[in-house]
Symmetry: C2
Subunit: 339 residues, 2 copies
């Protein structure tokens, strides 16, 4: 099967933390056609461990993200296995030596794709789930005059301390498996990946989701243990551990103000976002609680807080798991795009 995506060559790409990825690759996929005015652009970054095809659930005829009239670009996050990653980078920056990549690095790479390759100067909307939301906020803060609208959902502009701790647990579970060998594994650390999956399982969906047995009654798994094995372990086992840890570091260190524009002043960075913003936390998201979104919205000049009324926790909406939430988010995106 031929690859369904393109590669943009970033050349020698210097990173915030000092390393340079030589011959850095940014994988992306587009939907629809860029119009002559180049004013029908949507950028839709990927989420933790996701690849562009994991974003496609929100795109389609009749949806807000309709390729019939929009030009939608999905850039793959660095470290996700398609863009430059531990798993596909040649020595010496391969595997356990892949450099630290920030969300700011990611969005600057995406900006080069958008401007250099396509000559785009205005973006109608940046939208994303989870770490895609983190990148969405970065777009708003780093390129305030370029981005007209943002719609980050189930994510934040800065990784909260609690979220950092949650991820420490995920990381510790994976790396407790000695097969991981500090990233120099020769066989897959399956025990660590399964442990990581089980840790994640409690965080991904809400207490109410499990209480209502939606894993069985809606998603169709045959038991709670079946859900843990088939959904959660099945989700993480195929993924490369170093890639997962690269993206995890990106997540933990996500902060729209951690750059020379804002020098760590988070409120200032939020205040600089000119885009009209719909900030949509999941009402029951355990690691991106609505309270953090409320703080962000309060410091942004043109933002509206729209909690997704769902008991699906972090999976309220993404990645298309619950159709009711998908429709809710899609409806809000239509509203935002019409504004």
């Amino acid at each position: 099967m031929p690859a369904d995506y393109e590669i943009f060559d970033l050349g020698d790409f210097g990173l915030q933390r000092g390393a340079t990825i030589r011959g850095c690759k940014l994988a992306y996929k587009t939907f629809g056609t860029l119009n002559a005015a180049k004013d029908n652009v949507v950028v839709y970054p990927t989420w933790y461990s996701g690849q562009h095809y994991d974003n496609e659930w929100l795109i389609g005829p009749g949806r807000a993200l309709d390729p019939a009239h929009l030009f939608i670009i999905i850039p793959n996050m660095l470290g996700n296995g398609l863009s430059s990653s531990p798993s596909n980078t040649p020595e010496p920056y391969n595997a356990g030596r892949f450099p630290l990549v920030t969300a700011c690095d990611n969005v600057r790479a995406q900006h080069r794709l958008v401007t250099e390759l396509f000559g785009i100067e205005r973006i109608r909307l940046v939208v994303g789930w989870s770490m895609g939301a983190l990148q969405t906020f970065h777009w708003g803060a780093l390129y305030p005059d370029m981005v007209e609208r943002i719609a980050p959902f189930c994510g934040s502009a800065k990784c909260s301390r609690h979220n950092i701790v949650f991820l420490e647990g995920v990381k510790a579970a994976l790396t407790a498996d000695a097969v991981f060998a500090d990233g120099w594994y020769t066989t897959k650390p399956a025990r660590g990946l399964r442990a990581m999956a089980r840790v994640y399982a409690g965080w991904g969906f809400s207490q109410a989701f499990y209480r209502e047995q939606l894993d069985i009654k809606t998603l169709g798994y045959s038991s709670l243990e079946d859900f843990l094995v088939a959904f959660w372990e099945g989700f993480f086992l195929p993924k490369d551990p170093n890639n997962l840890l690269t993206m995890l570091w990106t997540w933990q260190n996500g902060d729209i103000s951690d750059n020379e524009l804002y020098d760590g002043d988070f409120a200032k960075a939020l205040g600089a976002i000119k885009a009209k913003a719909y900030v949509m936390p999941g009402q029951t998201d355990l690691y991106f609680p609505p309270e953090d979104s409320a703080f962000e919205v309060a410091h942004m000049p043109d933002a509206t807080l729209i909690p997704v009324p769902s008991i699906w926790g972090h999976f309220a909406g993404g990645p298309g798991t619950n159709p009711v939430d998908v429709d809710f988010i899609d409806g809000k995106l239509k509203e935002l795009l019409a504004a």
Copy 2:
């Protein structure tokens, strides 16, 4: 230093799941004096990984649990390292072969201590935090005519599905360390214990606790990482892994109706609790959310729901970590004891 506790010999103690612990030991400590009428008794079971001295913060002069007029018994949970446990049981039921113990087993053992050793027929109050609350509910359901009052806080009468999943993550992190060797470790699986601690860290305290930096500002740790190492890893590293897994299984399988009295009818078991009950969930507890307590209270004949207004998550009150919460719980216990 001489032991500050006593041992009650249960003899050959048959367990719900079929095994028998021969020469089964129940470690306990008492405070105060049993009066002549034997009507001043409080039973106060221990929590996950805790031992009797970890319960003492709620006992003292001027407190609801005042040894000047109450006779307080703290029975140590089976598996906690003082009562019969993987770490102190001789072959062949030692270490990785220690049998499965339910909360029902624990409370039946405690009932024998209370009746056979002390000749007690009425209990004024059973109280406990977390897994201590689980045992407290069991006391109410198994001995409804004996227990006058119960005060379970930050716990439940039945382990919720989400709570089971949270514990699966904890267990997977510990056992991802190959040194654990299915319970037949010859050196401490420190990597697994540290991983388990980091997983637990995100669950133990609430998002708001971390947002407000109470780990630093109130508890006095020097950084978030210092809190993870000094508090959390320091908490789990000294504990025996098989003991931890024995108690974890007890927790996951906790259910007051899982016995011949109620045949799995949870509502019926709750309805059978005659004790006047103050059920006190932590308002921000991530694994014992107040919604589960509300269900329980709705099915109990004489129960009041009293959420602890705290952002300390599961540590609202226990184990004495936050003085404000301790005072709140102590005040409610005074009220309940006076009723």
